[in-house]
Each structure stands twice: as C-alpha cells, then as structure tokens.
Amino acid sequence: MKYLSKLHKILDSGQFAVTAEIGPPKHASVEGVKHHAHMMKDYVDATNITDCQTAIVRISSIATGVHVLGAGIEPIVQMTCRDRNRIAMQADILGAYCLGMRNMLCLSGDHQKFGNHPTSKNVYDVDSMQLIQALRRMRDDKVFFSGEEIKECEPRFFIGAVANPFADPFEYRIDRLEKKVEAGAQFIQTQCIFDMERFERFMEKVRERGIDQRVHILAGLTPLKSWRGAKYMQSNVSGMIVPDSIVERLKSAEDPKKEGVDLCIEQIKYVREKIKGVHGVHVMAIAWEEIVPEIVERSGLYPRPQVDPSELE
C-alpha cells in the first residue's frame, strides 16, 4: 500500500507520531519560519502551518508550507472556513497539492472578532465538517464540491480535523468527533490539554465507541512559559480549561519556563503510556518553537522514524 504522506505512513504503521506547529509571521519574510523548520526538522514527523490563527493576518499557510517543505519538514496545511468560500478553498486545495503539500487540517477558524481585522466579513460558506467531506470526495470520488468531475490529478490529501474535549456540550464532543470521522477525517488533533482528567473521560468514551480504531488521535499539548500565560488561557480563551493547580504550579516555580517544559513532558509521557487510543502528540509551542526539540528528546520520542519516499504516493 502506498501512503498519502509521511504522517499517514507513521500513524498507519502504529508508530507514535509527533507533530508540532509553526505560526507564519505578520510580515513577508520567512527567515524565522525557515529557522524554526530547520531546528525542528529531525524532531517531528510533520508540522502544522496555522492559517491566520486567531484571525490575525499572516503569510498564508500554503505559502509558508512551501518554505517548510523546502526546509525538509512535511507540512500539515491548516485550512479554516472563515476566510474563503468554496471556490477559493478548492483553488487553494489544488494549489497546495501541486506545491507538494500532502496533509490538510480542516477547521472552523477563530472568529474574526479576535483578530486584527474585527470589522471584516466572515465567510463560512462551508463549515469544517463539510470541508472534510468535500476534501475526501475530491480524493476518493474525484469530484469538486459541486459534484463536477475532476478530470485528472485529483488532490489526494491525508485529511485531518480537530476535536476539542474541553468545549461543550461534553457528550456531544464525542458524537461530533465521530461525525468528523464519518465525513472523512483520518487524523485528529485535539485542543491543548491541561485538564487531563477530562481528556481521559473523553478518551474513555471514544474507546467505548471504537472511534480510536477508526481515526488517529493526536493529543494536543502546549508548554507554558509563565503562570500569566496559563491564567490568560484560563480566563480568555473560550473552549479551553486550565486547572488552577497548573497556574499554581507555575506560580510557585523557581524557573517557570523550565517548569512549563517539565509539565509538558510529563503530560506527553502520560498520554502516551497511560491513555489508550492516543496515537501521537501534537506539540503546540505557541511562539516558542525553539523548545520543541528539547521536549521531544526528553520525552523519549527521539529519534523519529524514517519513511522511505518510495512508500509514498
């Protein structure tokens, strides 16, 4: 069997995957991106390239992806439904594929209210569920969203989606995850996990329904730099749960950054060893990309598996 991407091969062969995240800059230089990519290259299997995260204008995820790919990392192109209608989305799907991208992560996107253009118009022509389904149909049925046939070279992406076990209603989060799998999601990255107890409950229900057998779930983890950062997420980011104990732990730490890294490593080991059904971790070191190699190495996830390009489509 040929795999759609390196990440696909690693996950399907049962190896514990490691993905990270690179946030494109708010200017037109990719020097920083290249630097981060070079640094992470040997430590992750693929990196997400965020798509104007928190609705702040940045270099597009696809353009950034070209540079990340050039630096030797497989990109996971994020595509939100906020900024593009179905015509623009498909143009970008075709574009990303022809530029060598092989993984795509479909998500709703943060509301523009949070970004630097709060007076803009949001699109949401299709939602993330519909995007997943349409992307699968482009690949498997060779049709555009409209049903029109793609005559040649259909874009063949390894399709990802997100799940947030910390959003409400809790019970429906499992249903919605299943719905995304039905739509065509092959891997899932979760929202940053701080409330491990809730994540375990989530995974328990996921396993009860056998969803972990049908999709690769990567646990999202974020190293915290300071208690203020933790506090900010706790009170300002909707859909996030940060227990007080974590805020306190960082507050009383002598070296909060080190404590944040230690905590993240503990969490990685925990989800890997203790929670069945987790097939990898997604390390979101927000504005702290340099720390990824250390986290991966100290978590015992280095070196990363090699994939022979001949195994890929």
Binding site: D125, A167, P169, K179, S238
Partner: protein, 223 residues
C-alpha cells in the same frame, strides 16, 4: 419583524445642515413596534432637529407624516403634495421604506434616519435579538427551531465549533451558543440522532448571494 435603530441625531443634523425645510416620514409598521420610527419617534426627532437648529441660529422648518407602511408603495402617494417644497426627506422606515420614498420622489434627497439591523423579536422591553438569517431555505425543522444561520456566529450547520463553552459562544460571554441550544432542544425531543447526519453545504444562491431575490405568486397576480 424588522428591527431598526436610530442613527445618532447629530449625524442626521449634519446631513441636513444646508436644508431649510425637511419632511420626516415615520412608518406605522415594524419600526413603530421596535420604537425606532413610529409616529412618536418621528415627532420627537423633528422637534429635536428644530431645537438644535434654533440654538445654532439657523431655524429649520419641519413637516411630519407617518405612513401606514412605507414598505408598501400603495401608501406613498398621499405624500405627493407634502414633499413638494421640502429640501430633503428624512425617512424613519427600514431600508425598504427609504427606497420606496427615493423611488417615487426622484428629485428629492432621501436620508435614512435609521440603521436597519435585522429581523428578530424582543426579549424584554427595550431589547431585541436577531432570530432569522433570511437564507431563503428554512432549515428550522432540522435544528430544533433555532436558526444556526444567524444565531451561530459562524453559520455552522454541523456545530457546535470548539469555541462553545458553558453554553456561550466564543465571541462573547453574553451570547448564547446557538448550537448548545440546538443540542439541548434536540436532546429534549429525543432526536439527537438527527444531529449525526452531516448537513451538506448550503445553497447560498437562495440567499442574498444569488442577487436581489424575488418572490412570485402568479395565482394572486391581477391582470
């Protein structure tokens, strides 16, 4: 009904600063109910504008009229005589009324006094909320009677998104998450399985994206 709100009075005053005589036209329909442009609001606005101009030493003459429905061309002609010698018409109707006025009085400058906001209803006295997205193809039977097109900040058809928490939408702690409401309602109805169906992309050509819409009923057309 249509919910509208008055523009700041000083903005309206600035628009008519060169006029000596204006006509203010209210509407007895929706904007009366939402307390934005009925007879009472029209009179108050006229006197406020006059007072402002009095203070400036440039008196303004006003005439007022409240149409039964400005959104119905039938109710416009009775104003033909009144508008003749005014320098501008200030309409306190929704955008439809403003346009019917402008359409009939081709040589008159028609100024909207209101911002037409949305269609919705009231919650408590003095508060109105948006309820319908006017999408052109109602799906309320699928969503427990709650409109995700307009009440979900992202118009998601397969919600809720990951920003929904404690029943509130990610945009504000003051905004209910429409999908939480939908979930609760469908659960109460014992129809949660319906939410597992993937709702396909919407046909927005039935909405404003298809261009100005028309609704035709040939059976009631005359002649």
């Amino acid at each position: 009904m249509i919910i509208a709100q008055q523009k700041p009075l000083k903005d309206i005053a600035a628009l008519i600063s060169e006029c000596n005589k204006v006509m203010l036209v209210g509407c007895a329909g929706c904007v009366t109910v939402c307390l934005a442009g009925g007879e009472k609001e029209t009179e108050i606005m006229a006197s406020s504008l006059r007072m402002m101009r009095e203070v400036e030493g440039k008196p303004l003459q006003t005439i007022t009229y409240t149409a039964t429905r400005q959104c119905d061309p039938e109710y416009i002609p009775p104003m033909d005589e009144m508008v003749k010698d005014v320098d501008a018409v200030i309409s306190l109707a929704c955008g439809v009324g403003v346009q019917y006025m402008a359409e009939r009085y081709t040589d008159k400058w028609v100024i909207p006094a209101l911002d037409t906001k949305f269609i919705g209803g009231s919650t408590v006295h003095g508060e109105w909320v948006e309820k319908c997205g006017l999408c052109g193809e109602c799906i309320l039977h699928k969503t427990g009677g709650i409109c995700p097109i307009i009440r979900c900040s992202k118009s998601i058809l397969n919600g809720p998104c990951g920003g929904s928490q404690y029943g509130k939408c990610e945009i504000s702690k003051d905004v209910d998450c429409a999908w939480q409401l939908i979930y609760d309602k469908m659960k109460a109805l014992g129809k949660l399985d319906k939410l597992m169906e993937i709702q396909p992309p919407k046909d927005w050509s039935k909405s404003r994206d298809g261009g100005p819409r028309k609704a035709v009923r040939e059976d009631v057309m005359i002649g």
